[in-house]
Amino acid sequence: MSKVSKRVKVMSAQEAVENLVFHGAIIGMGGQNVTRCAVALAHEIIKQGKRDLTLTGCNLSIHMDLMVGAGLVKKCEFGLGGLGRFGATFQFRRAIEERRMEAEDYDHLTMVCRFLAGEMGIPFIPVRGLMGSDILKYQAPSTKKKFEIINNPWNQGEKVLLVPAMEPDVTIVHVQKADEIGNVLIQGIACHEPELIRASKTTIVSCEEIVPTRFFRTNSDSTTVPYHYIDAVVEQRFGAYPAATTGYYSFDADHINYYQQRSRAGGEEYKKYLNEYVYGCETFDDVLEKCGGVKRLNHLHREMLRLM
């Protein structure tokens, strides 16, 4: 991973995905549920038709569902796939039920521990979950070795579960602030992303704002991850839409519900959604325009500020 890390990494989503995402890649998924999902970057991966992907993260959400719905995903390795109160991620659910996609279930703690092992450069890590559950009993056909149980060398007779490090090929995350060399600030709940980013071989970050490096150098206690881990910085305001970005805008419940209707209906209905909102939009700004434009975005922005 030794790379020339201190250089300007600002580029378009198109360039970033062209340069870094490849067919068959393991994609680390930032974002959870309705917060900071890397939707703009997921759209770009779909438009470029990067296929045979494995998606990994904790709560795989709408950006996962879009990529699954576009037929690009062969496997998910995760803690949970779903949209909480908005219901199931229907593309995900159906792809598993119809055996078009493998699901490798873990839980959130185990996944974040796998990223922790990845970021620390160690091959595996013990975790105190999963024992006695059927999550250990079943594994996806393509998984080589899901876990190992050993005796605790410091307490004979105690069984300890080991899980392997996970180092995604390319991680996509959406954050509040980044600078042009790739320093990253996540505001509010950070979920599994500090570990995920540092565990990944490469990372594309989309951000609400590109700020001067000076911002990080004068707030260095707050920097979430330094530039060494980042390979591309994409400036995309509202890049998590229809999910929320803490401090910037709330999630768009109406659009998520609309997506869920189309996704639940499936078939042509879903294709129409993809055609209209993904393939049919040259840029993510066009998506935002189509979803209600300035008025809608200003509303979501006010909604967020009202909460702060």
Partner: protein
């Protein structure tokens, strides 16, 4: 102040209130989406003012003005003492043993308190696929007191779940110990719209401990896929007070995210 009980409540409302009664003021509680969130915030606004919440997405001791939409809703970090990461909460608090109470839910709950939130049918090509564990397995594995709030339907309470996502006592009193779980004997409490069931650590099985007002033991048995033993003389769940319902409706879930607006239809 005199307690003025009310009969004008929904099943969901009393479930949330009853669940909240198992939370103490000194507890650290890990929140889950749905009625658990309602129950926990209600506890904090009533009898357990000292309770503090942690949330898997990284929020530690937020002040929640009302029940947020999900555990990853940005409001979940509101006025927290720390907005950190999933590792800090599930790793350094839950797994470390600092969390006293956890909430779980699922598609199936069996007599051993095992929960299925993964699938029905063969996991490789399931008949129905659910979201999966999320933070649930880790909470089930490590937290000493588990609260489950769920509607009481027969298919939700089979003798044995089709897939153990979150272990209860697995297959009996020593099931967890045999499986290698360090937290060998957690308390498990199930609150439904018909009754309250609690695990007996000596048998590893759920026992019927209380009935919801007006519900009979027969009704519970008819709607359960196993036969929970009765624990002592059957008690009845205490009715909510008018003051409690007011707090629940106006402060905890004013936007009716989780609780339907109550209308005085007779409960069916």
């Amino acid at each position: 102040m005199e307690k003025v009980y009310s009969e004008n409540y929904s099943g969901d409302e009393l479930m949330a209130i009853e669940a909240s009664r198992f939370i103490k003021s000194t507890d650290t509680v890990i929140l889950g989406t749905g009625l658990p969130m309602v129950a926990a915030i209600f506890a904090q606004k009533t009898h357990a003012v000292g309770v503090n919440f942690v949330v898997e997405s990284g929020s530690i001791d937020p002040i929640l003005p009302f029940a947020p939409f999900t555990v990853a809703d940005p409001i979940i970090g509101h006025m927290a003492v720390r907005t950190g990461s999933l590792r800090e909460v599930l790793g350094c608090m839950v797994q470390r043993g600092l969390v006293d109470v956890g909430f779980l839910g699922g598609a199936e709950i069996d007599q051993f308190g095992n929960i299925n939130s993964t699938c029905i049918g063969d996991p490789q090509s399931p008949k129905v696929r659910f979201p999966g564990s999320g933070g649930a397995n880790c909470i089930a594995s490590c937290v000493p007191k588990i609260l489950i709030i769920t509607e009481h339907e027969k298919r939700r309470f089979p003798a044995k779940v089709q897939f153990i996502t979150s272990p209860g006592y697995i297959d009996g009193p020593d099931g967890r110990k045999k499986a290698g779980l360090k937290m060998a004997k957690p308390d498990i409490i199930v609150v439904t719209d018909l009754c309250v069931m609690q695990i007996n650590p000596d048998t590893g099985r759920l026992e019927l401990t209380k009935l919801m007002p007006g519900v009979t033991i027969d009704e519970v048995y008819k709607n359960t896929g196993f036969e929970p033993r009765l624990r002592g003389k059957m008690g009845e769940v205490e009715l909510p007070t008018e003051a409690e319902l007011k707090i629940l409706r106006e402060e905890v879930d004013p936007n009716h995210i989780y609780l339907k607006e109550f209308s005085k239809q007779p409960r069916t």
